[in-house]
Each structure stands twice: as structure tokens, then as C-alpha cells.
Amino acid sequence: MTLPSKGYSSLHGDGGSDIAGQVREQQARLAARLEGIDQILLTAGGKGGVGKSTVATNLAVTLARAGTQVGLLDADLEGATAARMLGATGMHARLGSGGVLPAEVHGIRVMSSDLLRPGELTPLNWPGLEDGAPVVGSAARATIVREFLADTAWGKLDHLVVDLPPGIDLSFLPACLGPQAGMVVVTLPNTVSLRVVSRATTVASAAGIRVLGLAVNMAYVPCEHCGNRISLSDNGAVNTASELLGLPVLATLPWDAAVAAGAELGVPAVLHEGAANHAYATLASRIMEVLG
């Protein structure tokens, strides 16, 4: 067989599709939207079930109650819960002149795949599974998150809280988020969870995302009589992880029946006076301190 003398780089253009140009336009559209957002706060945890969505929603409400402009993006496409936790059930995203209008609840602008479902229990028509092509699912996830960021009419925001899905893979996040993003790593106060945290922070740092610190969830139960804290935490493991990772403990958060009930009812616990309210105020304050 005679091979051609010209190679890929010898040919100018791509025949007319200008795929590279289309990708540049996608990135430019995203960058234009992100210009209106001062700070992106990612809630991550590595392990599932540590309370990322609970932390994301209560943190967002706390920041909004402090008078800042706040958005919340639920990037957990299949397991979206943040909209429901905020009480945004029954709301649907609508198209406006400046993009897709987010739902507004408790002073927070919310975008979630939940808002795109025709019915609350209707599963999304997730691509790729029927083709047996996992790469399609990965590309789809990245595109959907990019469109959620770029096409939602967020307006001017002081903070955009992004609730990440479980796991340590961040490849679906646009690379341009790095400089604007800070990650709050949510963990349980035990060795099992903290080991995954270590892996998650390594991945985040490699992606150019600044890791702000640890939010230790379900760390204590507040006594309903005297207000004292009944510790559920292995303080030794938390302190060791904090030292080894070089990350501050931003706050310890309670395992509080009010928090669980709030999530069920769509009324975040921080809206009421109590242990959660104070703990999340501490978390928000420490985040702002670390950001400087």
C-alpha cells in the first residue's frame, strides 16, 4: 500500500465543520456567563452519602441570608436532590431572553436536572447506556454541566454553589472553572470517608481547583436539653487528616433531626434558629476567611 505523503497537520482546516471553532465558541459562551459570577464554591466529598447536597443547600441559604446574591447548580445529574431540598419541587425551568431562567427559592437561583423533568418521578432519558458506550455518557455529562453553567440566566452572583456528584472524577467540569473555583470537601468524621477525601483533594489540585478545607458533617448530636455536643467523631482521624492534607477544618456540622427533616420537607434547617443555623454560619464565615 502506498501511503500519502501528507499527514494530518499538513492539511489546513477540517474540511468545513470547524469543530475546533465550535468548541472555542462553546468556551467563549461559558466564559461570558462566568464573568458575572464572583466565586464558585464546589461541594465535593468523594464518597456518597456524606451529605454534600445537604451542605450545599444549607450553605447556599446561609450565604443568601447574609445578603449576597447566590446561585445553586446541582451537577449530580442522575441523583439530583438539591432543588427538592430547597423546596423547588413543581417548579420548571423556563426559557427567557437571556437564557434558561433558574427557579428562585429562598433568595437562591437554582438550576437542576430536576427542573427539566416532566414529572417528579420521571427518570431522565440518559444517553449511552443503551449503546453500551460509557464514553458517550462521560461526554454527555460534561456537555450538560457546561450548558447548565453557560446557558442559565444566573445574572450577577456573588457565589455559585455547585453540588458535585459522588466520586472523585472531576473531568466533567470545564477546565476554565479552576481560577474561580474553591472546593469545600464534605466528609464524615471517620477514617473510611477521610481516605476518599485524600484522593479527592489530589484530583482537585491536579485540576487546578483550590481546596478550601474540610466540612466535617454529622460530627455531633446537639443535646436538645442543654445544647451540649455529643460527639460522633473520631477527632483523632479528623485532625490527622487535616494535618496530612494541609487543609483546615472549616466547620463541624451536626447530625440534627432538624436537618434531616428540613431536607425531606424542602425547608432548609438553617432557616430556623438552632445548632445547624450556627454551624453553617461558622462554615460560611470560615470559607470567606480562607478565600481572603
Binding site: D18, L95, L116, P127
Partner: protein, 133 residues
């Protein structure tokens, strides 16, 4: 990916694209010098991958709509509101095909730059879909 005409050793240019049809997209490239053509045929997984990247083979003539790829991938249609008159008009469509017709009408409205579906969109979609509402 690029296509090289082996006879002319020149890049082939995009000519046309069709589909998806049964999950496959056909993309035709042709050599401007000798006229030789090649058709790229994608399998369903490759078609989905192109869709998942949010790019158009052959380039774009219009800017992508908001949540364009999201709506297509998740089967949710576009996030567009309807006037009450348009909703009433849609009720003339048999219930079992109404979701599909609704999605088609919304796509038509979005391509026209609308942020709300009106009766005019419903009627226009009816003309393009055949006997309709």
C-alpha cells in the same frame, strides 16, 4: 478527523450531512480537484458521541439554542413556556401523541427565537407535521 484525497493529495471538503436515520449519520466529503467523494457513516454510538459533544458536523449556520444539547440528550425538550391559547389548541391532538407533538412544536418555536409557544407556532407546526391541531 480529516479526509485526504489520495489521488490529488489534497484535503477533501465537507459537502453534505444527513441523519440521524436509524441512529446513523451520513457525512459526505469531496475533493474539489478531482470530484472524488467519500461518505462517512457513523454507528449509533458514534452518532450519540457527536451529539454529546454539542457540535454540528458541517458547521453551524445558527447559534446554538440554550440547553440545546441538554434537551436533546435528556429527552426533555426545550424549557419553553406556552400561552394558554396554545395549550388549548394542543388539546386537539390525540393524547397518546401529544408529548411528541409538543416537543416538535417547541423545537419549531425555539428555532424561530421565541421564548414562549403561541398558537401561531402550533399552527405552523401542524402544517409541517401534516394534519395536525
Amino acid at each position: 478527523m480529516k479526509f485526504l484525497c489520495m489521488a490529488c493529495e489534497e484535503a477533501m471538503s465537507f459537502e453534505d450531512a444527513a441523519g440521524p436515520n436509524e441512529g446513523s449519520v451520513t457525512v459526505v466529503f469531496r475533493c474539489k480537484h478531482c470530484g472524488a467523494g467519500v461518505a462517512l457513516l457513523t454507528n449509533p454510538a458514534e452518532t450519540r458521541l457527536i451529539q454529546a459533544l454539542g457540535v454540528k458536523v458541517g458547521g453551524r449556520t445558527v447559534e446554538p439554542g440554550a440547553f440545546e444539547t441538554t434537551g436533546a440528550l435528556l429527552g426533555t425538550g426545550t424549557a419553553i413556556s406556552w400561552t394558554s391559547e396554545a395549550e388549548e389548541r394542543l388539546k386537539r391532538v390525540p393524547e397518546f401523541v401529544r408529548p411528541m407533538v409538543r416537543a416538535a412544536i417547541e423545537r419549531l418555536a425555539v428555532t424561530k427565537g421565541a421564548t414562549e409557544v403561541t398558537v401561531e407556532h402550533v399552527v405552523a407546526a401542524g402544517h409541517s407535521l401534516g394534519p395536525g391541531p
